[in-house]
């Protein structure tokens, strides 16, 4: 046992487990963040289509990513609307938690409605019949630069190392 905090005993194993879990979560969050910052949606959908992913799945992915992209501004709008109606969004933790529930319901409903409408709008622009981008231009982008090779190699070694440690070889 390392120490006692507010009556709770703190062990080295527990502390290490906590740190490990927290760092994994941070790593996961940063990976997702890095993916969104470094990969424009345009590039992603074109790439997935070129790789043969059916357009319907690309549409679903596109709507989901768009929803995530719009989430902060949507939450802010609903937050303001609830505040204007007198919801105690600036009060204590308990009141804020209660207010969060009043935000969740319109957030989910409006997001579903908007996703359906956006999906319809994309269908109405012929998205589901969209030919893979390679076939639109007749050119296949086969460029592989040094940066891409380094990225793939690094990713490979990180994954291999994780598997190695996980298996305790």
């Amino acid at each position: 046992m390392l120490t006692t905090v507010l009556g709770f005993s703190l062990y080295e194993e527990g502390l290490l487990f906590g740190l490990r879990t927290a760092s994994r979560l941070i790593l996961l969050s940063f990976s997702i963040l890095m993916f969104f910052i470094s990969t424009p949606l345009t590039v992603l959908i074109d790439y997935l289509q070129n790789k043969g992913l059916p357009t319907y799945f690309v549409l679903m992915l596109l709507l989901t990513l768009h929803f995530i992209d719009q989430l902060p501004s949507r939450i802010h709008q609903i937050f303001l609307a609830q505040q204007a109606r007198g919801a105690p969004v600036d009060a204590g933790v308990f009141s804020r938690t209660k207010a969060l529930l009043s935000i969740l319901s319109p957030l989910v409903l409006s997001s579903i409605v908007e996703s359906i409408e956006r999906g319809t709008a994309l269908e109405l622009r012929g998205f589901l019949n969209r030919p893979p981008p390679d076939r639109q231009t007749g050119q296949v982008d086969t460029r592989i630069n040094l940066l891409t090779v380094c990225f793939y190699l690094t990713a490979f070694f990180i994954i291999a190392d994780s598997i190695y440690r996980w298996l305790n070889i």
Binding site: D69, A121, L124, G126, N129, R130, R135
Partner: protein, 276 residues
């Protein structure tokens, strides 16, 4: 090239147990003309446009339809099973959802439609810029499509459909998010489309349609209660005062009164109908 649109005895139920959302509609819209479908909320205007665009069967497979729809040489009994774009292009009521969000500039957003169709021309730059110029939004060509005002977004949404040169253009309540200046701009765009595209637009207000449409259909509870040209509607507008909110035909009333001087949009309507 504009196509003739014919609807014969068309009825629709969202499911067999539901009441009719559209009831025995018949319409003839001449190729290249502009037709307005006016009705209060829930009258069936958007439903009709979705039937014509081909989205109804996909989104409501349990819907039951009878009658005929014909666009040019394409004829359907009941509902079309596939989306009819680019034969019929539908611009939705909310222009913001029409923006894909996957392209960084207005130019790329419009090009996205051509990519979907697999029909990118030799010089897309020239074609897209020419369209944007016609719509008065060529200065927005490099702007981010999600950062535009309501009126600008409406015109970009229109451009994303018009670039495919649909023979039939369907506009679902295009004036909803527009101020009077933007409505005026839309009016001139609709005039410029005459002869090139058959246009069907819906609205809840009578006044706007009087100035833009060649013929007007009034729709209530899924049925047509009036069909005629703007001048005929104007002479009978009081008959429909219980169906439409007063603010929807205040302008029309001003045209009927010899003492009132029409203002704004209604001045143009009066001029077009030869009333002043």
């Amino acid at each position: 090239m504009a196509q003739h649109l014919t609807i014969r005895d068309f009825s629709l139920q969202y499911s067999a147990s539901d009441p009719k959302a559209l009831s025995s509609l018949s319409m003839d819209v001449t190729a290249g003309s502009c037709c307005a479908i006016i009705g209060p909320t829930g009258a069936g205007k958007s439903t009709l446009l979705h039937c014509l665009a081909g989205t109804m069967r996909r989104h409501h497979p349990e819907s039951v339809a009878s009658g005929q729809i014909q666009i040019g040489d394409l004829a359907f009994t009941g509902l079309p099973n596939q989306i009819l774009f680019p034969v019929a292009g539908l611009v939705l009521q909310d222009p913001y959802v029409q923006i894909s969000g996957v392209r960084d500039t207005v130019f790329e957003e419009v090009l996205f439609t051509l990519e979907n169709l697999g029909t990118i021309p030799q010089d897309p730059q020239k074609e897209i810029l020419s369209l944007l110029q016609r719509l008065g939004i060529d200065h927005l060509v490099d702007r981010k499509p999600t950062s535009l005002s309501g009126g600008e977004t409406q015109r970009v949404a229109l451009a994303t459909i018009l670039i495919a040169q649909p023979p039939v253009l369907l506009l679902d309540e295009p004036t909803t998010a527009l101020d009077s200046k933007a409505q005026e701009k839309l009016r001139s765009i609709l005039f410029s489309l005459r002869g090139k595209t058959t246009t069907l637009l819906t609205d809840t207000l009578i006044d706007y349609a009087l100035g833009v449409a060649d013929q007007i259909f009034l729709l209530d509870h899924g049925a047509i209660i009036f069909h005629g040209d703007p001048r005929t509607l104007l002479s009978q507008v009081h008959n429909f005062s219980s169906t439409f909110p007063a603010e929807g035909w205040l302008g029309a009333q001003s045209l009927l009164s010899p003492l009132e001087e029409p203002s704004g949009h209604m001045q143009l309507v009066a001029k077009a109908l030869g009333l002043r």
